[in-house]
Structure formats: structure tokens, C-alpha cells
Amino acid sequence: MIVDTPLLIITDLVKEFNDGEISTTVLNGLSLSLDRGEFVALLGPSGSGKSTLLSILGTLMRPTSGRFEMLGFNLIGARDVDLTEFRNQHIGFVFQAHNLLPDFTALENVMFPAATRKGRETPVDRRRATELLDKVGLADRRDFPASKLSGGQKQRVAVARALMNSPDLVLADEPTGNLDRESARRVMDLLIDLNGTDGTTFLISTHDETIAGQCRREIRLLDGRLARERH
């Protein structure tokens, strides 16, 4: 799975938040890289910078300084519109609180990343979204409104949505945090399976050591720095 060129590289990444006169440094010179096809756990206590790192890697937030390259693109100075397009094509998100669009069906939610890029829902995308829902075991729920699904079902729809545009990287923030044990197990099995079959890179932020144990690599943050790594 692992090829020579890293999927992404961050170097000396710093993120400071200024709230009036108070300045807080959340990421403090962080450097790391991710290779294609990796299945990585991101660990660390609250306030260690996990969420901020995911936001920057997801191009939702700009760092204060440092370098960030992905797929050979320097994303630090990119325009907002270019970052949006890059995010749409190369990055998928799975949030702790599924974050589905409640007025749309499961199928429409999965199709959203493709439809918003093309400006319409195409038959090809409809087929792909149906396949993904089938893959996450929700083919029979495709026309259900998102608001009518259970917590575990919503999270599996969110996983399918994250994979809709065949991204190179999926960022998952506590993907099982709001689920019961059985649903959490099913979601993790799904992510591992997708990583194995599609070769998609997963970076999973978690507090759960059991989940971290299922990942092939662990990155531990402390006070915005890399504290420890396990390969």
C-alpha cells in the first residue's frame, strides 16, 4: 500500500489563536507526514491540538505559519475557492456528530459532495452513492430522510458520504464517540474494510485506546507537539 511519495507533509506547523490580548498557541512547530493507504490514530488529551490539526489538514483552517503540502500542492497560500475545490475532490470528513443534512435523504446526503461540484445530481453519481450505501449496509434506507435514521445509521451514511468523491484522505473526528458499543464496532470494521479494499488513507482522532489499537499507526500529541509515534 505504501508508496514512495507521502500523501501529505506538514513542517513546523504553528497555529495561534488571538482573542484580544490573549494569544494561545495550539500547534507548536508540529511536523509529520502521512503516506497513501495509511490507517492512523491521532491521540492526545483535550487541548493537545487534535481538532485544530484536523481542521488544518481538512483545509478548513489556515495555520499561522509552517508548511503544508498534500499531493504535491502547497496549500498554505492557496485561495479560498481553490481550497474548497481541493477539499471537495481529495478530502472526506466523518464527524463525531455525523453532521448530515436533515432535510435530505440518505442517498442525497451521500451524493452531496459530487452534486455540489457538478451543479446537479447525475445518474452516475446516483449509482455510486447507492453502491456506497450498499457497502455500509444501508441500501434499504437510501430514501429515508436523514433525520429518521438511528445514530449508527447516520454515522454509516456519513462514512459513505466521505467516500463519495473517492478522496485520498478521510479525516474522522471521534467517529464512534456518540455511538453504542455495537454501532461503534460496526463503524470501525467498516473503516478498516474500506481502508483495506480502496486504499483510502484514514486519520482518526480518538480518545479511545481500543480504537487506536485497531490502527496500524498512532500519532500522540501533547501541547501542540508530537509526543510519541507508533508504527
Binding site: 453532521n99 436533515p102 455540489t116
Partner: protein, 401 residues
């Protein structure tokens, strides 16, 4: 269907009660707009019909005579240029112009009249009158004399006079009585009152007399030609334009009614402006209503906007979703308001038939298309601020990984 259109529709459909309320609010504004347009238009129609509906919309006269240049007897230098005002201006070859004038669009009738001033006497009572001589078949071509008779008949044979109701009342005259008329050229004629009309315009009813054209020729010593041609139009608002065309076609002096009724025209313009202000307020209310509702929707859907942005939706897409919502609300409210406005105006009689206590509503003056178009544009305009606010939502703040 574009995807932003689908999302906008879904958002509107997902909260039907709010959307219905919003559309109803817009519809009320449009209804006020339509009603005010019909009322102001109706008032204008009523005023115009009552004041200038029974006069010539365009009066055609002979061109002014060339001024006379006076030179000094010895020096030969120009001493003065005198404009002739002592001679009557008459149209000697009026009949030759009739086909060309009648062929001009919007002209419904043309009548040649011989007119002048005179005095009507009955016993010792004397009243100044304006005598108008017309061919019998043209007695109602300009003023609807036959349709506004209060006594007698409209048959205008030689020796018969049709007089205004005010004049009849002042002089104590009735149909069947004989009266004497002395014209401005000191020629007398005795006429039988054949009918009394009431046009509702005091200046006409109090001093106008219609006589046969040949009677007028005698009274005013005009064996040939006419004093003027009077033109009636199907739309009296087009009078200035038609007058220009007549002047260009015939070379004659054409005077639209607007030139002689400037104060009435100013009053109508002021009335229309007042209506525009009220309609403007209705539009502003619509814009504020749509803007506030969409702004509320923006705040309520912040997390969804954040999700969309995280999934790769551009700011432009988000702006589009909210602008389309504004446009759809404006269009639906505009159509509903204009439709209801039209239906509710249907039972009103025409302004001409309105009683003195009723509202003079002109259903054709409802400005339905303008109301819908302005509401549509206004609602899109109202959506700019909410849409802009929505596009600036920071996904990290509202959903954050």
C-alpha cells in the same frame, strides 16, 4: 434543475408553515401595490373622463398667419413686426385633411365645427354662450351629448338648439321653448330648444349650445370651411404624441388637451406620485420582510451551511441557495398577491360607473406585471444580505472537527 435550485426548494419545502407565512406576507404587500395602482389609475380615469372626456383631445386649427413687417416710409428700415390677431383663423380646406387625420392610429373620430361666442336672450334675461355648430351626425362625436340628455332629444336639425343643463336652469328654459341668439358678429337667430344635456362639466353645461352646422355658418358668417377640427382618441393620454403626428402630417396647428389643462395634468401627476410613494412603502415592507426571514433562516441553518462548506460547497453555491430562495418567495408572493388582487377587483364597476360614494377602481390599471417583476427583483435584492452572511459562515466554528 441546478443543484442550488434543488437545495433552495428543499429548504423552502422543509419548513412549510414559515414559507407559507412568508409568501403570504409578500402577497399582502403585492396586493396593496396592485390595489393602490388600480385605485390611483381609476381616480385618474374618472377625473380625466369627467373633465376632459367630453372635450376634444386634439384641436386642429389653421396655422398662425405670418407676421407683417413694417418698414419706415423714407428710410426703408424695419420699424416693427406685427403679429396678426385681428383676423379670424379658419380652416378653409378642412375636408381635404380629414382622410389623413382619420388614418392616424388612435384617432376614433374627427369633427369639423364652426364655433364662436354669442348671447342668449329669453325675455329680459341674457347669458353669454359658446355656440358650436356641427353636422347632425357628429353631435356626439366629441362630447357625448346624445348620451347625456336630461330632456328632449339629440336630433339636431336646422333651427334646433341643444343647451347645457346649467344654462337651462339659470335661464329657466325648457325643451320646446324658443330663444334668441345674437352672435359675436351681431347676427340674430331664433332657435327652438330641442334637448337639454348634462355632461357633468360645469364650464360646458353652464354655457354651451349645439346648433346645426348651417345655422352656425349663418351666425358667424362663415359660408365655407370650419373654425377648427376636433379629434377624439381612444386613449386620451396619447394626445401629445398624436398631436405631433397630426402636425407633421398636415402642417396644421395641433393642440393636445394637455396644453390647455396644465393644472389638471399637474394634479394627476402629483396624485400618481403619491400612489408611487405608497407602492414604494409596500415594496420596502416586502424587502424587509424577506430579508429578515431569510436572515433568520441563515442563522437557523448555520450548521448545515458549515456541513456544505466542509463537503466542498463553494461560497457561490451557498449564496445561490439563499438568493434562489429569495427569488422563489418573491415570485410566489408576487403571483399570489397579484392574482388575489385581480380577483378582488373584479366585482368593482368601471370608474365611469362608480357611484359618488364608491371607490373608482380601474382593474386594468392594477400594474400586475410590474408588481410581480418588482417583487421578484426586490426579494432577490432582499436575499443579498442573508446570502452574503451565509457564505461567510466558518465551518470550523459551527461544526468543527
Amino acid at each position: 434543475m441546478t443543484y442550488s435550485f434543488k437545495v433552495a426548494l428543499r429548504y423552502l419545502a422543509s419548513n412549510r408553515a414559515q414559507t407559507a407565512l412568508l409568501i403570504a406576507g409578500v402577497a399582502v404587500g403585492v396586493y396593496i401595490f396592485v390595489f393602490m395602482s388600480a385605485l390611483i389609475g381609476g381616480l385618474a380615469v374618472l377625473l380625466l373622463n369627467r373633465t376632459v372626456g367630453n372635450i376634444a383631445h386634439v384641436t386642429i386649427q389653421a396655422p398662425d398667419r405670418d407676421p407683417v413687417s413694417l418698414y419706415g416710409r423714407d428710410s426703408g428700415t424695419l420699424v416693427a413686426i406685427l403679429k396678426s390677431v385681428q383676423q379670424r383663423t379658419t380652416l378653409q380646406s378642412a375636408a381635404a385633411f380629414l382622410p389623413a387625420i382619420e388614418a392616424i392610429p388612435n384617432v376614433t373620430s374627427v369633427a369639423g365645427v364652426v364655433a364662436g361666442n354669442g348671447f342668449l336672450t329669453k325675455g329680459e334675461a341674457i347669458a353669454p354662450v359658446i355656440v358650436t355648430g356641427v353636422e347632425p351626425d357628429q353631435v356626439s362625436a366629441i362630447a357625448n351629448v346624445a348620451g347625456n340628455l336630461v330632456a328632449g332629444s339629440g336630433d339636431l336639425t336646422i333651427g334646433i338648439a341643444l343647451i347645457g343643463s346649467g344654462l337651462a336652469k339659470t335661464m329657466g328654459l325648457q325643451v320646446g321653448q324658443r330663444v334668441s341668439i345674437r352672435s359675436e358678429r351681431n347676427i340674430d337667430a331664433t332657435l327652438l330648444i330641442g334637448g337639454v344635456f348634462s355632461l357633468g362639466v360645469s364650464s360646458v353645461d353652464d354655457g354651451a349650445i349645439y346648433v346645426h352646422l348651417r345655422t352656425a355658418r349663418v351666425l358667424f358668417e362663415l359660408p365655407d370651411g370650419v373654425s377648427r377640427l376636433e379629434v377624439k382618441l381612444d386613449d386620451l393620454r396619447l394626445a401629445p404624441e398624436v398631436a405631433r403626428r397630426i402636425a407633421n402630417t398636415t402642417g396644421l396647428k395641433s393642440i393636445p388637451w394637455t396644453e390647455k389643462n396644465e393644472q389638471l395634468l399637474n394634479g394627476l401627476v402629483a396624485q400618481a406620485r403619491s400612489g408611487d410613494v405608497i407602492k414604494g412603502f409596500a415594496l420596502v415592507t416586502i424587502v424587509i420582510g424577506v430579508a429578515s426571514a431569510l436572515l433568520l433562516s441563515t442563522y437557523r441553518r448555520q450548521s448545515e451551511i458549515g456541513i456544505m462548506r466542509a463537503m466542498g460547497a463553494t461560497r457561490r453555491f451557498v449564496v445561490g441557495v439563499f438568493m434562489i430562495q429569495g427569488g422563489l418567495i418573491g415570485l410566489a408572493g408576487g403571483l399570489l398577491g397579484a392574482g388575489l388582487g385581480y380577483l378582488s377587483l373584479l366585482p368593482f364597476p368601471l370608474p365611469e360607473a362608480t357611484s359618488s360614494t364608491g371607490l373608482p377602481i380601474a382593474i386594468g390599471e392594477g400594474a400586475y406585471g410590474t408588481a410581480i417583476l418588482l417583487t421578484f427583483i426586490g426579494a432577490i435584492f432582499a436575499a443579498i444580505w442573508p446570502a452574503s452572511a451565509a457564505s461567510r459562515v466558518d465551518p470550523v466554528k459551527v461544526i468543527g472537527p
